[in-house]
């Protein structure tokens, strides 16, 4: 295919598909619109019936319902998009016809059916339960019968499924049936369930349109029962299980449903004392039947003292509980005795007793259970209504609670348990066994050098990882911190205010500066050779700079300690009076606070670069990505707030959030590619880097240096402007920006920028994801690229929510834009900053995809989430993997706490 043809085909296809999609969308909009207004109509009808038609708020809501993009156009848009995609592929390849007959289409179909099946079954269960509990107040006999049937069906089904009772030796159980259903769920079955579910659902909604129409209600219930039966029949038919097998499978649950349902029916008609007697007798009968079919391996051996003691004990407990709750003591005793009997007969004793004993044990248990149902009086109408009302919350919650507990809570608890175990092999026995090992897994995590490695922090040999105190970012960061501290001192002299916590900050900083000076001194003494850590470090390791740093750190350290001691002596003299101004006040409020924070950020980055290990790496990720994304997101939101084409800019920055982490990692992999020297560089970053190098080596490099000097001059002007306005942030910021650019200009002029090596043709490339120690920063860049959009969107909404009167009032009073931002907007959105930071912390802690795709934890870039995956699923170290998951869990617990507190504050 030629290029022209490709492009042409592509464009024409896209256009045609677009037109097609548009047409479909228009039709869909008409269709959905009609549907929607009838929906709105019905809502309005209900409202008018309840006498709410006229209020203003509702009229507004009606308008929303009718016209809102959300209700009508959304569906139409969705259909239009699907049509466009479909049309695109159809026209592009003409493959649709083959697609319809392909395995992919059958996959589509089976997925669709699975969804419909799941939704239908849930809907039938949910609606059925609702109908069932509606009967509590309307038709108690029906309610009690159906409840009994359900209890019997489920109990017998569970017993049968667990092979605790058996009808014919070696036959299939409910479990087998379910297994077959999920694996070979076939068309017929699905059609059955779907049709039945749809019919029932429609029926239910229809009958509710006229609430007092009793016959229709019964028809609905009948349809529900019939539907369930039909679905079951469909199950066996579709599975092509012979009818007799099907009957044997369904036999036990059905028998249970009939027996217990009959019991429920009887109990709903009788009053005491016949009620209790009938309950106990019928229960005993059902128990006896169960006992007769009890599986051989679980028939209990009656050990009289054991089960008598258990029964008496639990009965007493039951009485005690009901006494405290103020409920009927007899029902408490019966419930307790039932549980005690079951424990005594089936748990504490051995198995293999004779059939007669099994029947006896089950008979007593059944009698107790039946007596429990038969105890108490028939409920009055009020009580029955109460049953109905109280059931509603649990019914609505049940599906969510089921999935939450099965899919999240119980697995979490089990992971806790697994983290204290280890799987081992035993001599001469097949398979693996789980052994309890206590805290051994946690010990393995925390004692492993690959989790914590602080060996490099004083390493000033020429290793790949710089020592903390002599690395370039640390020196730079500490310098900025110290300069800012000096400015804070000057500001404190003016204002007399002292930053909170400065009593710890000042001496701490002093000690740190002295330590840094000490290490600089040792470095200068011990090494004459240059370290090979890239350009920036190179500059620091120039002896001249080292001496300058040594002097600076020494002076600053001594000065800060002197200030701290003077303050302490003063506090001692003045009796710790908090109101008195200290001789040395450090006021961090103001722009130099930003310089201080940035310096601190750099110094902490240096800290993480020299401390290695999985846990340190995760902390580093959290630290860097959270801070950078938040700050960048806030900055961009503030910038975009006033810009033209604001929405375009915002959606472009926001876009990476829609791309998967795997996709983002691939996108950046291509940015980071470094091809062997001499071959054309196709990674954008290395390409540009080498281009800079070419320029530095060319004859025109002085021109570039001059231009950079111009920029430096500009920043110095900002600094000067800040000085005239007593704005320390502008002074510090200007100088902070000017210095590195000055350095760049110098390197450019010197011809040493852009990976230019000592000899001609020898160029230094960036191997972003592998070059220690900063390789992880490049991986973090990917996540920052994604998450900044998230922070920006949230901040943007928060900034727009700041009342415009505040901003206008400030502007009238002569506040500058930056004043408005720092003094008005930022204090207003502090809660939002909290939300963004906590969300980001959790996201970053879970980061897995990026590390897995980029390095898979190699080059010392392992993080907890990936380590957990590797241990649990690649190395099959279930215990260790669980322990790592729990470490991850514990590290988000503070965030959970913050979330809950926030919820409680909001009401």
């Amino acid at each position: 295919m030629s290029v022209l043809e490709t492009i042409g085909r592509f464009v024409v296809t896209l256009l045609l598909a677009g037109v097609f999609g548009l047409v479909v969308r228009t039709f869909a909009q008409r269709f959905v619109g009609v549907q929607d207004s009838s929906l709105a109509q019905s809502v309005r009808e209900v409202r008018s019936r309840v006498g709410l038609g006229g209020t203003e708020a509702l009229a507004e809501r009606d308008a929303t319902l009718d016209l809102d993009y959300g209700t009508r156009n959304l569906v139409a848009d969705g259909i239009g998009i699907v049509a466009t995609v479909f049309g695109f592929f159809y026209l592009l390849g003409g493959r649709t016809s083959s697609f319809l007959n392909s395995p992919e289409s059958s996959k589509f179909a089976s997925t669709l059916w699975a969804v419909i099946l799941a939704v239908t079954v849930s809907a039938v269960l949910f609606v059925g339960t609702n109908i069932l509990f509606n009967q509590a107040s309307k038709n108690y006999t029906l309610f009690k019968t159906l409840i009994g049937a359900v209890i019997g069906f489920v109990t017998f089904g569970l017993l049968d499924g667990n092979r605790l009772i058996q009808w014919v030796q070696g036959r299939e159980t409910v479990a087998d049936g379910l297994h077959g259903l999920v694996n070979n769920g076939s068309f017929t079955l699905l059609i059955f369930s779907v049709l039945i579910g749809a019919v029932i659902f429609a029926f239910y909604g229809y009958s509710y349109g006229t609430p007092r129409d009793e016959p229709r209600r019964y028809a609905t219930i009948a349809a529900a029962v019939g539907g369930t039966m039909g679905a079951l029949w469909g199950l066996f038919y579709a599975e092509r299980i012979p009818v007799d097998t099907a009957i044997t499978i369904i036999w036990t649950p059905l028998l249970g449903a009939i027996l217990v349902g009959a019991l429920g029916f009887a109990l709903s008609k009788l009053n005491q004392p016949v009620r209790l007697a009938v309950g106990a007798a019928a229960g005993a009968g059902i128990g006896a039947i169960l006992g007769g079919f009890l599986f051989r391996s679980v028939t209990p051996r009656m050990e009289v003292p054991k089960f008598l003691i258990a029964t008496a004990l639990l009965a007493a407990v039951g009485v005690g509980i009901n006494y405290i709750r103020g409920k009927n003591l007899i029902t408490g005793a019966i419930s307790g005795a039932l549980i005690g009997w079951i424990i005594g007969a089936f748990v504490l004793t051995g198995v293999g007793g004779p059939r007669s004993e099994a029947i006896g044990a089950c008979l007593v248990a059944g009698a107790l259970a039946g007596a429990r149902f038969g105890a108490g009086e028939l409920p009055t109408q009020t009580q029955r209504t109460n049953i109905e009302n109280r059931s509603r919350g649990p019914i609505f919650l049940a599906p969510a609670m089921f999935f939450l507990s099965v899919g999240l809570v119980i697995p979490l608890i089990r992971t806790f348990y697994l983290s204290f175990t280890d799987t081992v092999r035993r001599e001469g026995v097949r398979g693996r066994f789980t052994e309890f090992v206590g805290l051994e897994n946690y010990d393995r995590i925390f004692s492993n050098p690959s989790s914590f490695d602080i060996g490099d922090w004083t390493n000033f040999e020429n290793g790949t990882i710089p020592s903390l105190f002599t690395s370039a970012p640390f020196a730079l960061g500490l310098t900025m911190v110290l300069v800012a501290a000096g400015m804070a001192f000057l500001a404190g002299r003016r204002s007399g205010a002292s930053a909170s916590g400065s009593s710890l900050l000042v001496p701490g900083l002093g000690i740190f500066a002295l330590l840094a000076a000490l290490f600089q001194f040792r470095l200068i003494r011990s090494s004459g050779s240059e370290s090979a850590q890239g350009d920036i470090v190179d500059a620091v390791s120039t002896p001249l700079w080292r001496y300058a740093y040594l002097l600076l750190f020494l002076a600053a350290g001594l000065g800060l300690l002197y200030a701290a001691f003077t303050n302490m002596a003063f506090a001692g003299k003045s009796g710790g009076a908090a109101t008195a101004a200290k001789p040395f006040s450090f006021d961090l409020a103001g722009g130099h606070g930003g310089v201080f924070a940035f310096g601190l950020f750099l110094a902490i980055t240096a800290f993480f670069a020299s401390f290695r290990g999985t846990i340190f790496n995760s902390l580093w990720w959290v630290f860097t990505v959270t801070i950078v994304s938040t700050v960048l997101g806030l900055g961009i939101a503030a910038l975009a707030d006033r810009a033209s084409l604001e929405n375009v800019a915002k959606s472009i920055i926001f876009m990476p959030l829609a791309i998967s982490f795997v996709g983002a990692a691939i996108i950046w992999r291509f940015m980071f590619i470094a091809r062997p020297d001499g071959r054309p560089q196709t990674g954008v970053l290395n390409y540009l880097w080498l281009k800079v190098g070419d320029f530095a080596m060319s004859d025109w490099n002085w021109l570039g240096a001059l231009a950079l000097l111009g920029v430096v001059a500009g920043f110095l002007m900002i600094s000067y402007a800040g000085y005239t306005r007593a704005n320390s942030g502008m002074v510090g910021g200007g100088i902070a920006m000017a210095l590195p650019i000055l350095w760049l200009a110098w390197r450019l002029f010197d011809g040493r920028l852009g990976g230019v090596g000592a000899t001609a043709g020898d160029r230094t490339l960036f191997f972003f994801s592998t070059d220690l120690p900063y390789n992880q920063l490049w991986l973090m860049l990917i996540l920052i690229w994604i998450q900044t959009g998230f922070a920006m969107v949230i901040f943007s909404a928060a900034i727009k929510a700041v009342p415009s009167e505040f901003i206008e009032a400030a502007r009238v009073d002569g506040a500058t834009d930056s004043n408005i931002f720092w003094r008005i907007i930022v204090p207003q959105i502090i809660p939002t900053i909290g939300v963004v930071t906590t969300t980001l912390i959790v996201t970053v802690l879970k980061v897995f995809d990026i590390v897995r795709v980029m390095t898979n934890g190699n080059f010392e870039s392992q993080v907890i989430a990936n380590e957990m995956f590797v241990q649990a699923f690649s190395n099959r170290e279930v215990g260790l993997g669980s322990a790592l998951a729990i470490v991850l869990f514990i590290s988000v617990v503070p965030v959970v706490f913050v979330n809950v507190r926030r919820l409680q504050h909001e009401g």
Binding site: V46, L65, T71, L348, I653, G683
Partner: protein, 326 residues
Amino acid sequence: MATIDVARDQERMQALTDGSTRTGLVSTVYKFLSGIPSWILWIIVILWTTPTLSLFVNSFRGREDQRSSVFWRTTPDQLTMDNYSTVWNSQAAGGLKEGFVNSFAIAIPATIIPIAIAAFAAYAFAWIDFKGRELMFIGLVSLLAIPNQVALLPLLQTYAGGAHQTIPFTDKTITLIPDLGLQGTSNAVWLSHIGFALPFAVFLLHNYMKSLPKDIFESARIDGADHFTIFWRLVLPLSIPVLAAFAIFQFLWTWNDYLIATTMLGAGGGGSTPLTVRIAALVGEFGRNEHLLTAGAFVMSAVPLMVFFALQKYFVKGLLAGSVKG
């Protein structure tokens, strides 16, 4: 003296708010500098787009072209759809057609089913009085930030062999969930997604439903409508915007998921792996299939990007309403 001070103050104020009153070099520089913010914004926008653009352009170039020059040196005669047709059709290069279908097979159920379940629960938390409601809701909110990793191992064990519990002090084991043969199927993936999605879904929908006017509910109750009627006829139609917001959110989430899919299906294989897993496997053989990754990444991102750009408004709505999702 006082008058002069006032005059000077006014002058200074004007100078601060409007740089144009100044004259000379400082003013020129000031004007220049005050334009910088919008430049910075657009520079950031360009920086943000470059990586995606680079990959997008390269995806239409052959292997040798990709390896010989940087993306903006692309010439029209290099453009080709070969990468796309290879990744789409060839099994050796990932078999993305199958992966595409599998991604849908996971994302659609994982989007639709939680909505239904969560809507019920959200309504219960918002408008039904029952014992322990507050406590349960706090429990739900505390689940929001829980990392998925903590539940993966037991879930995988359940899919592989069911859930069985040995009763303490006896040798008897009972089956709580039978082995349903879910291991290695897409059903296992979307079933897992349901549990992980629910806390956020319920939280998001609850916040919205709680904000509906109370008088509707009270009058409807007085008129004899029960909770199910109110839910079905009143709340659900009114909640469609937030349902859409959650649906988009959840669709993107499940489509882009890698962790759960690779855990439940295995990194290497099986026919049911979604796009993310297939493409991540392609990365493993980076050298050989490097040029195909470009097209693969775009096949993978096409659907989320389309959903994103078409329905951004709802996505943002969901993001804003539920920004405590873990």
